[in-house]
């Protein structure tokens, strides 16, 4: 019996089956529970999310792993899927399969054809999947073709269906079924409007648009606008259609006729996205300032213009500076991209990085940007801090956070909170001496302790425990500092200090 058993084991172990294992088998999961996040009042229910059943996950992972040597993943006939998961025989799999003309049946061959296939998809725009109107017109914008009335001549195939006296209702119904219909015979305004109303009643954008194109071609503009004003659905379709086909002029005329001034403004402003040349774009934005935007929007449009104007000046200057190779900062940190068309905050960062010391009078100085765009203190400090820390200019950081009161006393102040200062500095690998100074200034004791411990600012930890008169914690901390170091000495001397009234 035991012999048989051994054979069986032998079979399982010696077989070519190999098991699935997980990449990381270490215990990283267990530490998650041990890091209590420092925040104020998380709702109870959120806590539940935090306590995802880690032990159980581990358990199932272990079980899966323990099944190694029993079964095999490779020659598994059960799930016929290629590595990319496409079931063998599915359509997208087969496209790749049948498209690769070389009849290589090996897996390697298939894989390379897969990659080739996927890179060639780049030619296809795939972001929008709309079936309806909005998507129909993408291609028009550049071509400028304006006249695409529905097919009027009858293709041969439609002959037998053709009749001259379809009612508006029948016409619409036929168009809905994809049949070709002549609209030319609807001559009177009355007929045309009945046709339109019939199309609208069916909510089929394809047909509504076809009828609208017909009306647009055969009606005078004023008449068309007037009739559409009382036909909101059709009106929306025409606006959408004009937007997509880029018939900007007619669109603006229509919106003006309807007195939809804000839309006129936005719609015109949108145009700037299509302008590549920055000078032209600047001119265009300048023209936008006078448009009837809403009160809230107008200041943003103004700012957009001012910003681009400013960026053009800075860019010209800096490109010159960089090419000349005279300026140390540009030599040391060559620019990765042009500043043109970047957001305001990015521009401010750039300016704090390359032009920090310039006087307020120059266009590229941070203080000038701050003033021009009324950048709030918080935003300014945050950005300047990040830029100077990246350059490891710690004196600048110090100066940025120092304020003088009227008596001439200096004081450290951070509108963003010192914990954020520490975070930013730490991200830029500030030395402990620098970091320590700001950790010390974190107001909330618990946060301060956390940060100090995390970044090994021993002095701050020790001082904080001393101020808290927490002897036990201080003793506990002793084992975290190096044996024989100045910190250890400091702890010892504190613990021996009879003057302190410990709370425990």
């Amino acid at each position: 019996m035991s012999r048989a058993r051994a054979d069986e084991e032998e079979y399982w172990h010696s077989s070519k089956f190999r098991a699935f294992t997980f990449d990381d088998e270490d215990d990283e999961l267990s530490q998650v529970g041990a890091q209590p996040p420092t925040r104020l009042t998380p709702p109870r229910t959120v806590l539940c999310v935090q306590t995802v059943s880690l032990p159980q996950l581990k358990e199932s992972k272990r079980a899966v792993n323990s099944l190694r040597d029993i079964v095999d993943d490779d020659d598994d006939d059960l799930e016929k899927v290629s590595w990319s998961g496409e079931p063998v025989g599915s359509i997208s799999w087969s496209i790749k399969e049948t498209a690769s003309s070389s009849s290589s049946s090996s897996l390697e061959g298939r894989d390379t054809s897969l990659q080739k296939g996927s890179s060639s998809y780049a030619a296809l725009p795939k972001q929008v999947s709309s079936y309806s109107l909005s998507s129909l017109f993408k291609a028009f914008s550049d071509t400028g073709v304006k006249n695409y009335a529905p097919e009027l001549r009858r293709p041969k195939a439609e002959y037998k269906d053709y009749s001259n006296d379809w009612s508006p209702r029948d016409t619409v119904r036929r168009m809905q079924r994809g049949k070709v219909c002549s609209l030319e015979r609807f001559r009177s305004l009355q007929d045309k409007l009945v046709l339109l109303d019939e199309a609208v009643a069916r909510h089929d954008g394809n047909v509504i648009t076809a009828v609208l194109i017909f009306l647009k071609r055969t009606l005078r503009r004023e008449v068309l606008f007037r009739e559409l004003e009382v036909r909101q659905v059709a009106l929306c379709h025409l606006i959408h259609f004009l937007k997509e086909t880029g018939e900007q002029k007619l669109l603006l005329d229509l919106l003006r006729f309807l007195d939809r001034t804000e839309e006129v403004a936005l719609s015109q402003y949108r145009e700037h996205l299509n302008i590549q040349d920055v000078e032209k774009k600047r001119e265009f934005l300048k023209g936008c300032i006078g448009l009837p935007f809403s009160a809230e929007d107008i200041s943003h449009i103004q700012d957009h213009y001012t910003l681009l104007e400013r960026q053009i000046i800075i860019e010209t200057n800096d490109r010159h500076l960089e090419m000349a190779g005279q300026s140390e900062i540009f030599r040391k940190y060559p620019r990765k991209a042009s500043i043109l068309n970047m957001p305001l905050v990015t521009t401010l960062f750039y300016s704090c990085f390359y032009h920090y010391t310039e006087a307020e009078g120059t266009f590229s100085s941070p203080s000038n940007l701050k003033k021009t765009f009324k950048i709030p203190d918080k935003q300014y400090v945050l950005t300047a801090l990040a830029a100077r820390a990246k350059l490891r200019a710690w004196e600048d950081v110090d100066a940025l956070l120092t304020t003088k009161n009227w008596l001439g006393y200096t004081k450290k102040k951070a509108p963003i909170g010192f914990h954020r200062v520490v975070e930013i500095l730490q991200r830029n690998n500030a030395p402990v001496q620098v970091l320590q100074e700001y950790v010390r200034l974190v107001e909330d004791v618990e946060t301060r302790l956390n940060l100090a411990t995390k970044y090994k600012c021993h002095d701050v930890v020790i001082d904080t425990y001393r101020d808290l008169k927490d002897r036990i914690q201080l003793m506990a901390y002793k084992c975290k500092v190096e044996r024989g170091s100045a910190e250890e000495e400091k702890i010892n001397s504190l613990l021996n200090n009879m003057q302190i009234r410990w709370k425990n």
């Binding site: 997980f22 993943d73 359509i91 296809l124 943003h300 945050l382």
Partner: protein, 601 residues
């Protein structure tokens, strides 16, 4: 291949079959060997209807992706383009056709199959390019509602919400109504229609009209559905903005599920072989299909993520025990029996391995500090805390330049939970966003305002607390492991849309008239007359079947909540879900953003 479609209360295989039949009929119109040129977007949805084998049976020998240039060599009689009716695709087709070698013999015939329908404009466009005459068959294939699972149908129309609510283009509603007519042709007339919202009203009107105009559509099929509930997405703008916390919802939030497939980072799925550690790590993402055909997935997909771990570990024990059985198999018969079960066990094991890996990937995210902070803010907003002032966390995220979509999701959530923001708060967020991400985003902000996701509080009254309390949208004591209420899908927040469905079934909407009036759009009820003899006599204890149609998109968490209601012992109603598109907050907001890059053409 499609067994999972028949697992539910309504056998959706019939719908799939109808789709396959239509496809075969078209293919047979083009006699002889053929090659299909695919609009790549369509391969996903088509994959849910047919496999390559079906096409092959009808002499499809080659398949290519649509791209500009010369068509690949292929010795076939017919070239068929499967495309959406979009003009930029017509340009590619034109290019293909123009470059076709006229001298070749035998000549190849061209055909176009428009999905989901022919477009007058596209044909006109082809005509102007002078190639329309090259096509022998120009047909449409109305792929309106695609069966995704035993209880789930989607039109996969990404821009439906944008078109309906921003551009007032109701074409997708027309398709929805057509899809519903097809469903009724297959599953019988639905006697009761309820709805809430403008779009719902439109769809109901269209259905009634279509029925009246095609009297032939009066069929003699015994109705499978008792009720249709049409819901506008803009009745509940809140739910998609919140982070979904079910297993499937989180997979979608983090990796994005498309046409039931998900692509995952390959590292966790690398088959590790002894002695080969480390090398040959696959670099291509691992692609997995997710549907109820997989037993384990069907069990855990709708659970709160916190309850997934325990199921996985239980499964692990069962499978381990099953494999242990081999030690007890003594006789040849026993061994034989064990071996016969092996394939099933192997499948179960690999399924377990996959989902353990996915759960680990997700856990890495959900235990991160940022996920936690984000969720905390979301939950504060949804429970009505501090919704009327500038939120620190949002400010911090802007300062750290987190993704714009994340910021927009949070700001919109705050706006919706406060029935609009105060002028000062709104202005502050707007300025910060424009200064940090670029002024051109003013266009996107404008779109969000038009869609009602972001707005100014008018009249100074916030009615969200009333809605929240009446509909019990926030539940303090939520049980994630053994839920007793739908609020488990968001760990506290009960999706408004699903609450409406739940209350409709019991005790009826009359009890919440006041709140319904606060939500946008009309609510209504229609009845469709059934011929005598088809009227249902309900067996005692038999559940009603309700089709819930989300116009403008539905999230996986909402689907999970409806499935939870279906499974409730005393629920009395089973749900089938249909939608214009499966969405999450990110894909939804993205669809509303102004496309800032110039078109590729």
């Amino acid at each position: 291949m499609a067994a999972h479609l028949s697992s539910g209360r309504v056998n959706l295989t019939a719908l799939r079959e109808a789709g396959r039949r239509e496809l075969r009929e078209f293919l047979d119109k083009c006699a002889g060997s053929k090659a299909i040129v695919w609009d790549e977007y369509l391969t996903g949805p088509f994959g849910l209807i047919a496999q390559y084998s079906l096409l092959k049976e009808h002499e499809v020998e080659k398949m290519f992706t649509l791209k500009p240039g010369r068509l690949p060599q292929a010795d076939v009689r017919n070239i068929i383009f499967f495309v959406r009716p979009r003009l930029e695709l017509m340009d590619i087709i034109t290019d293909n056709v123009r470059r076709e070698d006229r001298g070749r013999s035998p000549q190849r015939d061209f055909h176009i199959l428009f999905v989901p329908r022919r477009s007058l404009l596209c044909e006109q466009w082809l005509k102007e390019q002078g190639v329309l005459g090259s096509f022998i068959h120009r047909e449409q294939y109305s792929l309106d509602l695609i069966p995704f699972d035993g209880d789930l149908l989607s039109m996969e129309s990404e821009s439906a919400f944008k078109e309906c609510y921003l551009e007032s283009d109701q074409t997708s509603l027309y398709h929805a109504a057509k899809g519903l007519m097809t469903l009724q042709a297959l599953y019988g007339t639905i006697p009761q229609i309820f709805g809430k919202g403008e779009c719902a009203r439109h769809v109901a009107n269209m259905m009634i009209r279509m029925k009246r105009e095609f009297p032939g559509s009066q069929n003699s099929i015994f109705p499978v559905f008792d009720t249709l509930l049409l819901l506008d997405r803009n009745v509940d703008l809140l739910t998609p903005l919140a982070t979904q916390l079910t297993y499937e919802g989180l997979i979608d939030e983090i990796y994005g599920i498309q046409n039931t497939y998900v692509k995952l980072p390959p590292e966790k799925f690398a088959p590790k072989k002894q002695g080969e550690g480390g090398k040959d790590l696959p670099t291509e993402p691992k692609k997995l299909q997710l549907n109820s055909a997989e037993e384990l997935y069907a069990e855990i997909r709708d659970k709160n993520f916190n309850a997934v771990g325990s199921v996985l570990s239980k499964k692990a024990k069962i499978i381990s025990a099953a494999f242990e059985e081999r030690h007890h198999a003594k006789t040849v018969g026993e061994i034989k029996q064990f071996v016969s079960q092996l394939p099933h066990m192997q499948a179960a094991r690999s399924s377990l391995a996959n989902h353990t890996s996915i759960a680990e990937l997700i856990k890495d995210i959900t235990t991160s500090e940022d996920f936690f902070d984000n969720l905390t803010v979301e939950q504060e907003f949804m429970s009505g805390i501090d919704t009327d002032k500038v939120n620190n966390y949002i400010e911090d995220c802007i300062a750290q330049k987190h993704s714009l979509i994340k910021i927009l999701r949070l700001v919109c959530l705050q706006s919706v939970c406060n029935n609009g923001l105060k002028q000062k708060v709104l202005d502050h967020y707007k300025r910060e966003i424009l200064q940090t991400y670029g002024y051109e985003h003013i266009l996107t902000l404008n779109n969000l305002e038009k869609a009602g996701l972001l707005k100014l509080q008018t009249g100074g009254r916030n009615n969200y607390p009333t809605i929240r309390k009446t509909l019990r949208l926030w539940m303090d004591d939520v049980n994630e492991q053994n839920p007793n209420d739908i609020s488990y899908v968001y760990s506290g927040y009960a999706p408004l849309s699903v609450r409406l469905a739940q209350l409709l079934a019991r005790p009826g909407w009359r009890s919440i008239e006041e709140v319904l009036k606060m939500l946008p759009g009309p609510h209504f009820e229609e009845r469709q007359q059934l011929p005598t003899g088809l009227q249902k006599k309900r067996q005692h204890g038999e559940n009603r079947v309700t089709l819930v149609f989300f116009l403008g998109g539905v999230t996986y968490a909402e689907i999970a909540a409806l499935r939870f209601l279906s499974q409730m012992e005393d629920g009395g109603t089973e749900y089938v879900i249909a939608t214009t598109k499966l969405i999450n907050g990110t894909t939804w907001i993205k669809s509303l953003m102004e496309k800032l890059e110039p078109a590729p053409f």
